[in-house]
């Protein structure tokens, strides 16, 4: 890790911690987040972590750029990776089925294995939440094993069903609400990913860990899932 601080706006600095995406980044990013929150206290407006960076948006009327840099430097002094597992671990039930995950077959072909093998491999890994973006509660997770990685669809779908679980390159994610999207869909989760009434709003937060748990159609419905086939939305 060789931290660098870069100017990105009148009241924002980018703290760049790494050059590559790696699951091992996250304990450092969690630790740095916690320190920055403490050091900036009321002067912090937003802290946006992502894969290798953290954008620090502070109160530009209360701090000069030099003071903000000083606070970031303070926050990084003797920084150690977080070992207390600050992030939560979530188990997301997923109904893997071609009707809600039309790219299951394609991914199986690419990987040269059966659909059930794709499901087994996608659901056995514990993923890290690297960042949230694209839509409220949309968590970019990884890393998906190389064999299951696949580029985004050439033509994004106009409507991807809420709860859809997809793969793009070596990342996986679940759509919190119906939206356009170009990820390869493999299944659907009945879990509410973004809820304005919930404390913290988003089920997943940066640095959390996620495991997908295959469930039957009956269980998916019992948990409140909507089994409208994806193609009925297209």
């Amino acid at each position: 890790m060789k931290p660098r601080i870069e100017v990105v706006a009148i009241d924002c600095l980018m703290l760049r911690l790494f050059d590559e995406i790696a699951e091992s980044n996250m304990p450092w990013i969690l630790a740095a987040s916690e320190r920055i929150r403490t050091c900036f206290a009321v002067h912090l407006i937003e802290l946006v972590p992502s894969y290798t960076t953290m954008m620090v948006h502070y109160d530009g009327l209360g701090l000069t750029p030099a003071q903000a840099r000083e606070l970031i430097a303070q926050a990084l002094t003797d920084l150690r990776p977080e070992t207390r597992n600050l992030g939560q671990c979530h188990v997301l039930p997923v109904w893997y089925d071609v009707s809600v995950g039309p790219e299951l077959t394609l991914l199986a072909q690419r990987a040269g294995c059966s659909v059930s093998e794709v499901i087994r491999r996608h659901s056995e890994h514990e993923y890290q939440v690297f960042a949230l973006g694209f839509a409220p509660g949309f968590a970019f997770m990884g890393l998906v094993e190389e064999a299951l990685a696949a580029p985004r669809l050439n033509t994004p779908r106009k409507r991807v069903a809420s709860g859809s679980v997809g793969i793009a390159e070596r990342q996986t994610a679940a759509y919190p609400a119906q939206s356009p999207g170009g990820w390869n869909l493999v299944g659907r989760t009945p879990s509410a990913l973004f809820d304005r009434e919930r404390d913290g709003y988003s089920l997943m937060q940066p640095g959390d860990r996620v495991q997908f748990a295959p469930v039957s159609h009956a269980e998916f419905i019992r948990l409140g899932g909507d089994d409208t086939p994806q193609e009925a939305l297209a």
Partner: protein, 306 residues
Amino acid sequence: MSHLLIQASTPLCLLQDAGRFGVRHLGVTQGGAADWLSMAWANWLLGNSPDAAVIEITLGGLTLVAKADCTLALAGADLAATIDGQPLKPWRSFVLKQGQTLVFTRPLSGARAYLAAPAGFVAPQVLGSCATVAREQLGGPDGFGRGLVAGDELTYAGHAGQLRELPCELQPVFSANPALDVVMGAQMGAFSGQSTFDAFNSAWTLDTRADRMGIRLLGPALVYQGAPMISEGIPLGAIQVPPDGQPIVLLNDRQTIGGYPRLGALTPLALARLAQCLPGEGVHMRPTTQEAAQRQHVVFMRRFVA
């Protein structure tokens, strides 16, 4: 008690405030008034806090009828507003009597007008704000991102003081070809030398692809020579350059993270000015540093508060 009835509206007439904060790490965009300065003046005219809930009217198309006597304030663009046919200029508070109709028709100067009410319009708070973001289904009169539509009724809870007008010398002027200050930073050093020159020495024209997420500028293609980027947080006003080389200034409803290289970001005053530009209008970019921009902004805000 209802104060105002919306008789006609467009998808660009929205309840706004300063937007949502403390939620960017959850993928929730900021939202809020695109021209924060005009919103602040509209509120100042009524003695409100600068970010009390207002109506943002882009281009016109809004008709309101008073159901009771109302004191309101108007700032920002001149959208050829009339009260029962009589012209109403911005930068003042005014009385709309019961039964009178306020109409916004078309942009004469600027693009976005802000209508304020005493203590702000009453609106559901969603994630700490009423800012309307249709894409995220947040804010607005229903709390789910809907713009204002005919039949909506709006109320406010405050009491109006004396009518005020913003002194002429404080009124923002929307003159042609404004210079927009850019805080240099982000990946600016990874653009070609020619591109750095072009960015600050070319006439840029607003594309028709302009909305509350971003405004695309047309001009010489800017060439990024750095390595592909990993997605990272994007600040308000960031100037990102996609592979076609035509910069996009990211506004209030931008996505929260992204992986296009950026030249830096507009200052708050430059953003407010850009928000009043229409497609086809020209702008210039003027380089500044974070330190200089911050010092100037602190001075400006002191004067503004006084």
